[in-house]
């Protein structure tokens, strides 16, 4: 080992080591998760019973908007970049990421982007209040003056994502150990390779959308203003051309994580590796051509509705293949239920439930009733929280011992799992009922027939929220004083290059490439 980390703050500010940068991404994302979670608590507290008790409607809208933006861009996207930074070089036998300085930059602009975004909470006119989907003209003509901060925040976050993606692609394509062909790569590397291409394709589209908003707001253009000859629906097409791939950007790396964990704890190789790769690629491709299923009520011509309905239904096929493969991996394995496995199993079950409601939502005529109701809120929290968040939680439990050479407290991990799992379902399952019964999303207040299930949902949210503090405690306790482990292979059934490295993983790994047969 040539040298260890720099001392003090310089280690982090000037970090070029993939493990340090990965760590920073993970902590950053957890901080954002707590902040976004806090906003969600405000929302659920206000919705605890009918009437406005805690906040005013205008602030409520700021809370829902900031919750969405922070969770999507601040918590979920960075957590997977953090995992990619840590794990991809170790999984493919590379010494580091291909572009370490860009790696530093792509991380360090993030805190600035989010400070810009969050600072609007303290400004006159308040934070963005137009929903995380920021439809024009609510987000342009009718936006609070702080919208410009939001726009620049998005630009910075987008730039960070693009740099992160370039780095991941360059690493995977160039730095694999000799003998590691693409089709021998761990699925996590595959899913990230595909995700990175998605990101590079759609982040510029998002940048275009917010730039058009900037022009409309400040420079007198009318891209989205009907009065000036523009088209508010154009905004939605552009947004969802970004937004639909975005949801796959969030979930595809999660597929990679689950495909690593389930075989380990089933002690059996992943079933259908190559079909997993093809299914992921198919999902990524389809994600580009289904965007207007978010817009079934805007009044598209019927041909458009039919096309987007059929194309969307198609996505269920490769998604189904993935689920069947995971289940087949477990089938006739020798299963144990450590915390990462518990989260992974919950992922498969709950993500599949989210997939079912996704199929229902794809049915255009039925979506007339579901659209913009709590049914949609339930659907996407099943895929985002139980999908993306559960899988990243699983990933942290799975790899944490490797990272720091200390074992987390298994009992506390299991408690965290069960409380999260139960809290999550108490929160979001009743939201299906609320939506079907007619409660629209983004409502600061609601009529009396929705009171019962809303209260249940709020109670669940508080439980789920509180359980995350347990997670924080468990992670810190592990890092500081966890039981020391030194076996390279932490988990009996684990396979892959990362488990050939010493535990804890040294600062520099694979300075000479390993041989892969």
């Amino acid at each position: 080992m040539a040298h260890g980390p720099a001392k003090g703050i310089r280690r982090w500010l000037f970090a070029t080591n993939h493990k340090d940068i990965g760590t920073m991404y993970l902590w950053f994302s957890f901080t954002m998760f707590l902040l976004g979670g806090f906003f969600a608590m405000v929302v659920r507290a206000e919705l605890f019973e009918p009437g406005m008790q805690i906040v005013r409607p205008e602030f409520f809208n700021q809370m829902t908007t900031m919750h969405g933006l922070i969770m999507v861009f601040g918590a979920i996207m960075p957590v997977f970049v953090g995992l990619a930074n840590w794990m991809i070089p170790m999984m493919i036998g590379a010494p580091d990421m291909a572009l370490p300085r860009m790696n530093n930059l792509s991380f360090w602009i993030l805190p600035f982007g989010f400070t810009l975004l969050a600072s609007t909470l303290f400004m006159e006119g308040g934070a963005p209040n137009f929903g995380w989907t920021f439809y024009a003209p609510l987000s342009t003509t009718y936006a609070p003056p702080t919208v410009n901060f939001f726009i620049f925040g998005i630009h910075i976050i987008g730039a960070s994502s693009i740099m992160g993606s370039i780095n991941i692609i360059a690493t995977i394509l160039n730095l694999r150990a000799p003998g590691m062909t693409l089709m021998k790569m761990p699925l996590f590397a595959w899913t990230w390779l595909i995700t990175a291409f998605l990101l590079i394709a759609v982040m510029p589209v998002l940048a275009g959308a917010v730039t058009m908003m900037l022009m409309d707001i400040n420079f007198g253009t009318s891209f989205f203003d009907a009065a000036g000859g523009g088209d508010p629906v154009l905004f939605q097409h552009i947004f969802w051309f970004f937004g639909h791939p975005e949801v796959y950007i969030i979930i595809i790396p999660a597929f990679g994580v689950i495909s690593a964990i389930i075989p380990t704890f089933s002690r059996k190789p992943l079933f259908g590796y190559s079909s997993m790769v093809y299914a992921t690629a198919a999902i990524a491709f389809l994600s580009f051509i289904v965007w207007a299923h978010h817009m079934f009520t805007v009044g598209m011509p019927i041909a458009g509705e039919l096309y987007f309905m059929y194309a969307t239904l198609l996505i269920a096929v490769p998604t189904g293949v993935k689920v069947f493969n995971w289940v087949s991996t477990m089938f006739r394995g020798a299963i144990t239920f450590e915390t990462p496995m518990l989260f992974a199993i919950a992922f498969v079950v709950l993500f599949t439930l989210g997939g079912f409601t996704g199929v229902m939502l794809a049915i255009a005529p039925a979506d007339i009733q579901y659209h913009d109701s709590y049914f949609v809120v339930a659907h996407f929290h099943y895929v985002m929280v139980a999908g993306a968040l559960f899988s990243s939680t699983a990933a942290v439990y799975y790899w944490l011992p490797k990272w720091c050479g200390r074992m987390y407290n298994e009992t506390m991990g299991k408690v965290h799992f069960w409380v999260s799992f139960i809290g999550f379902n108490i929160t979001f399952f009743p939201q299906h009922f609320l939506g079907l019964a007619g409660m629209p999303r983004r409502y600061a207040d609601y009529s009396l027939q929705f009171a019962d299930w809303n209260m249940v949902s709020s109670i669940g949210a508080f439980i789920y929220g509180a359980s995350q503090l347990l997670f924080l405690y468990n992670v810190i306790a592990t890092i500081v004083a966890g039981r020391k482990v030194s076996d390279p292979k932490i988990w009996e059934g684990a396979e892959g290059l990362e488990w050939t490295l010493p535990t804890p993983a040294p600062y520099h790994t694979f300075s000479t490439p390993p041989a892969v047969k």
Binding site: N61, Y142, L353, M360, A451
Partner: protein
């Protein structure tokens, strides 16, 4: 080997038993509008479209349930039977092209089966031809306007629940946030076409029981339709985030028998004529203030505050405002024509001359505001509108 097969069968039976159980659960709360806990499913509604939607919804739902039972059945069986703690030794198989093909093709076939009824319903939903009645629906921040095309009947429909009730100073009654100043009235058994548009931001007109949800987009007119088969009061809501009071712009549809509808429409026409006459009358300050207080509370207070204090950074205060205490023409201009590019709408088309005169007079005298020309009469408003 035999015992494994037995176990498999037993596991399968357990899993399959789950589905009927769920059937029973879903059927249990049949008393739909019992409210609260019983509200679990989409209403069937009172139009052919809403019923077809409900049927597709249920079919797709049950398909999903059965697939779920199968997939999770296998999974839970493995979790139970193939545990390391029970001494199960892992198998080593890890691929099978046949199996992959099977679970690609079968789901694809199921999806095709679902697509047929969906296509049929969608076609019906899009067939807006040959309507008996056209109603234009306009979404405003935060109320709806209904215009009966071909007549001069048109009115705003706003939340009737009071702020006091929202903020807990008054009790919440049965139709809390589901009551409006005036419902939209439609005849039963007639095909009503809704022409939906937005005046400011995008709203969405959603009435679950009519099976209608369509976005109200500024600059576009969207068409949809409903034919209510049963008389009744159907309550709906704005479904697209439209700003601060998104949750406070409900929809109430009153479907009545045809004769009743005709009587109602005739009465509304007569009202419109009477209102035109009132425009000529000269009111006292007290009358205008009383009326203005009411109009202000209904149409302006949501932005400018109950006592004219506004919301800093978003909506200006009218208490002490230069316009409210300046020349009448400027005050008329901003209220009648609004200010394009801001949330201040053109109220000229929303409020009657009498209401406009009253609310402007009110703003010029309330909250300690003082000015020379403190009274504005309906005739002044009428004249101002003519000059434009």
């Amino acid at each position: 080997m035999v015992s494994r097969a037995k176990r498999l069968v037993r596991g399968g039976i357990c899993a399959l038993a789950l589905a009927p159980l769920m059937h029973a659960l879903a059927a249990a709360p049949a008393a739909e509008n019992s409210g609260g806990w019983g509200l679990l499913n989409m209403p069937e509604g009172v139009t052919s479209v809403s019923r077809e939607i409900h049927d597709i919804h249920m079919v797709v739902f049950w398909i999903c349930v059965w697939i779920g039972v199968l997939v999770f059945g296998v999974m839970f069986y493995s979790m139970f039977a193939h545990r390391k703690s029970r001494g199960h030794k892992p198998a080593t198989f890890h691929e099978s092209t046949t199996v992959e093909l099977v679970w690609t093709i079968i789901p694809a076939l199921i999806l095709i089966v679902m697509a047929f009824p969906a296509t049929r319903t969608l076609k019906e939903l899009y067939d807006t031809s040959e309507a008996d009645l056209d109603i234009k629906v306009t979404g405003y921040q935060w109320k709806w306007r209904y215009d009966y095309l071909g007549t001069d009947v048109g009115y705003m429909s706003e939340l009737a629940t009071t702020q006091a009730s929202v903020y807990g100073q008054a009790p919440k009654t049965q139709f809390y946030l589901e009551e409006v100043t005036e419902p939209v009235v439609i005849p039963v058994g007639k095909k009503v076409r809704f022409l939906i548009t937005g005046a400011d931001v995008i709203h969405s007109w959603w009435v679950p029981e009519l099976g209608v949800k369509r976005d109200a987009i500024p600059g576009f007119v969207n068409e949809t339709w409903a034919l209510a088969k049963e008389p009744g009061i159907y309550r709906g809501r704005c479904a697209e985030l439209c700003g601060k009071d998104h949750a406070f712009m409900p929809i109430v549809v009153n479907a009545v028998p045809e004769e009743e509808f005709n009587t109602w429409l005739a009465a509304k026409q007569a009202d419109a004529a009477a209102l035109r006459e009132l425009t000529e009358k000269t009111f006292t300050l007290e009358e205008l203030m009383a009326k203005g207080d009411e109009v202000y509370g209904r149409s302006c207070a949501s932005c400018h505050g109950a006592s004219g204090e506004g919301i800093p950074g978003a909506f200006p205060a009218l208490k002490g405002s230069a316009i409210a205490q300046g020349p009448v023409a400027d005050h008329l201009d901003i209220v009648v024509n609004g200010k394009p590019g801001t949330a201040m709408q053109a109220f000229g088309a929303q409020l009657s001359e009498v209401d406009l005169a009253a609310v402007i007079t009110y703003e010029r005298n309330a909250w300690g505001n003082k000015t020379e020309d403190n009274i504005v009469q309906p005739a002044d408003v009428f004249q101002f509108k003519q000059e434009r």
